[in-house]
């Protein structure tokens, strides 16, 4: 019994990478749903992290996120991923309206020596749950996206990473003079993920 619970709480680099990339997949879906980037009816509900999460049923978006997360977990396992940013842009003008930052700090010792860490699944899940709740509640303060929008995902990697065939280098797609709100973070003891949303300041506020 004791040995079983012990084995459950051990986290390897690979497992941690899977948790983080899966988290990003759900977070991206949740952002796309809550910010109304895609129509409401293209999402369906699933149970995850003790919450009902929404996943897109649009084939194009689905395959985009799937291939994205698989690449992310590869980089995470190598400890090369520093940050993932989901950018929401105006469809008409390509102006960046929102940036969802997921800062990732990797325990370099784990990557270098292949040791594992201990943290219970439950605890990680609780931390992720808190972030998901915050993403869902962010619509209360984020400015209204009152025009059709598109999204893109940027991955900040170490300089020594070879660019995969399907990826290109991009600019940072920054927002001028943004407002920022820091959300909760979670930690697998190997990867620490901090969430932050920055958005375009309403001109109205500045007067």
């Amino acid at each position: 019994m004791a040995s079983r619970t012990l084995s459950k709480d051990i986290i390897t680099l690979k497992g941690s990478a899977a948790i983080v990339s899966e988290f990003f997949g759900y977070a991206a879906n949740s952002i796309l749903y809550n910010r109304g980037v895609y129509p409401e009816e293209s999402f369906s509900k699933v149970k995850k992290y003790g919450l009902s999460m929404l996943l897109t049923q649009d084939e194009g978006v689905k395959s985009f996120i799937t291939s994205l997360t698989s690449q992310l977990s590869e980089w995470l396992e190598a400890g090369k991923l520093q940050r993932i940013v989901l950018v929401i842009m105006s469809k008409a003008t390509s102006e960046v309206l929102e940036r969802w930052n997921f800062n990732i700090e990797t325990d370099s010792e784990v990557v270098a020596k292949g040791v594992s860490r201990e943290k219970s699944d439950k605890e990680i899940m609780r931390e992720i749950q808190a972030i998901m709740r915050q993403i869902a509640s962010c619509i209360t303060y984020l400015p209204c996206l009152d025009e059709p929008c598109v999204f893109d995902v940027l991955a900040y990697t170490d300089k020594d990473v070879a660019v995969p065939f399907t990826w290109i280098e991009s600019d940072a797609k920054l927002i001028q003079n943004p407002q920022m709100v820091k959300l909760h973070s979670f930690d697998t003891k190997i990867h620490k993920v901090g969430t932050l949303v920055s958005y375009k300041n309403d001109e109205w506020d500045e007067q």
């Binding site: 109304g36 940050r83 059709p148 001028q176 003079n177």
Partner: protein, 480 residues
């Protein structure tokens, strides 16, 4: 000069140069959210302090690299020169180098972009008329119904009598209201008020007013059974109809040149105002005061309600100057109301449909098919029904009530779902009148106020509809 101050100064120089060329881009720090053009440039001190705090969080800016290159070369010099650097300086240098080194990252994005949302779909539930019109089915926009009166006018000396009809809104957009012995005209187009007539004490007060369909002539019923016809354009008394009734004339209804009058004596008389012997027909059926009188849109049927709790439907074609010995000329007699029937309204979009409302001990709105005589529906409103109006543009009915809420209630027809309750009056809402465009409703209540409610939509939207409604009836009348 130590390394720390050197870097801050040099970065400062560079930043100000950058700024003068292009507006600043996003940086990874809240501290640096700049009130840029104004204070930071005018106050070098604050700039300096923000620069120091800003450095560790900065990301992906080119001058970072430049700064790094600067400090790096200096560091090498320092390193090569000596081990004289203090431990704190060394730590700072390390931190700086680490931060800046980490910033040299590669930013990658998928070559294949996610599919863009389909055209016409709008984020959120916002409405952009241009994009949303591309939808196949555009959901009908819900009309906003203001809960408060648009305008409130004082109506002193308004007689608080359920059986009278003291308010009417003519087709020329002039509202007439009788206050005591005086009839006032209020021009809704420009808001001007004029007094039409003040009658003598011994014949008053005024018990009913009604505009002729032309919007120019107005009939005034008096307490002494006389009916006066006035020309509103020059405030001239045209004629007085006498001997029609034995007591006060509480209800009036026009059907082209026929003025139908209902009296306290229970008689209903059709008067042709053009001819000398004006009383052309009498409807007998009520035993008490006639308080509700309305011609249908086609002008074929007359509905009358009385204090005897009766509702009669009369037919115009049954009229003759010499009433037949059989006095029961009514087409239908409805005895379902348990109190006086004053509120009557013919449906503008469905012929033969009449809504009637009962008084204090009845509180019901009933719907009748006046062709078959069937009661279609009955709703207990919980309060005295003083007046009823149909919306000309939507399938809606507005009712005005007395104790306890003194409210106006808007009902969806035929579901009879309450859409809105308009409160504000502090006494029973005795009379209602609808503007010619069908959008605004005026209500007069026992609290001696006249209130205007924008309850039936906005004039811009509604304008074409009433036109279409009124044309068939008027052409029909011309043929006759």
């Amino acid at each position: 000069m130590d390394a720390g101050s050197y870097t801050s100064v040099s970065s400062e120089k560079m930043r100000s140069r950058m700024r003068s060329r292009a507006p600043l881009r996003e940086v990874g720090s809240t501290v640096f959210i700049p009130p840029l053009r104004s204070s930071s440039l005018s106050n070098p001190l604050s700039r300096q302090s923000s620069a120091d705090r800003f450095i560790p969080d900065r990301s992906a800016m080119d001058f970072d690299y430049a700064l790094y290159a600067l400090t790096e070369s200096r560091k090498e010099k320092e390193n090569s020169s000596s081990a004289t650097a203090s431990p704190s300086k060394e730590a700072y240098r390390k931190l700086l180098a680490e931060t800046l080194l980490n910033n040299r990252t590669r930013i990658l994005a998928f070559k294949s972009k996610p599919p863009t949302p389909t055209d016409g779909f709008l984020s959120g539930s916002t409405s952009d008329p241009l994009t949303s019109s591309s939808h196949l089915t555009k959901p009908k926009q819900r009309r906003y119904i203001s809960q408060t009166a648009e305008r409130t006018l004082d109506a002193p000396d308004l007689v608080d009598d359920y059986y009278l009809n003291l308010l009417d809104w003519g087709s020329s957009n002039v509202l007439s209201i009788a206050l005591g012995n005086t009839v006032y005209l209020w021009n809704a187009s420009n808001g001007s008020t004029s007094e039409l007539v003040t009658i003598d004490e011994d014949v008053g007060p005024v018990t009913s007013v009604s505009w002729a369909p032309d919007g120019q002539h107005i009939a005034v019923g008096l307490n002494n059974s006389h009916i006066q016809l006035w020309d509103s354009t020059n405030s001239r008394l045209l004629r007085t109809l006498k001997g029609v009734h034995r007591s006060r004339v509480g209800s009036l209804a026009w059907n082209n040149n026929i003025l139908t009058t209902g009296g306290m004596d229970g008689k209903i008389v059709n008067n042709d105002v053009r001819i000398r012997s004006h009383a052309i027909q009498t409807y007998r059926g009520h035993t008490q005061e006639v308080c509700g009188l309305k011609w249908s849109g086609s002008g074929q049927q007359l509905a009358s309600g009385g204090n005897d709790n009766l509702l009669h439907i009369w037919d115009l074609s049954m009229s003759s100057s010499t009433p037949p010995p059989n006095q029961n000329q009514y087409v239908h007699r409805f005895e379902d109301h348990m109190a006086a029937v004053k509120a009557l309204a013919w449906c503008p979009f469905q012929s033969n449909l009449l809504a009637s409302g009962g008084g204090g001990s009845d509180r019901c709105i009933k719907f009748w098919n006046t062709h078959t005589g069937a009661c279609l529906n009955s709703i207990d409103t919980g309060s005295q029904v003083c007046s009823l109006l149909w919306n000309k543009n939507e399938r809606e009915l507005l009712s005005s009530h007395g104790f306890t809420q003194n409210q106006l209630t808007l009902w969806k027809y035929p579901s009879m779902v309450k859409m809105a309750e308009l409160t504000g009056h502090t006494s029973r809402v005795l009379f209602m009148a609808q503007s010619p465009d069908g959008c605004t409703v005026a209500s007069a209540a026992g609290d001696e106020t006249l209130r205007f409610w924008n309850v039936f939509g906005t004039p811009e939207v509604a304008k074409p509809v009433p036109k279409g409604n009124s044309v068939p009836f008027s052409s029909y009348n011309h043929i006759r």
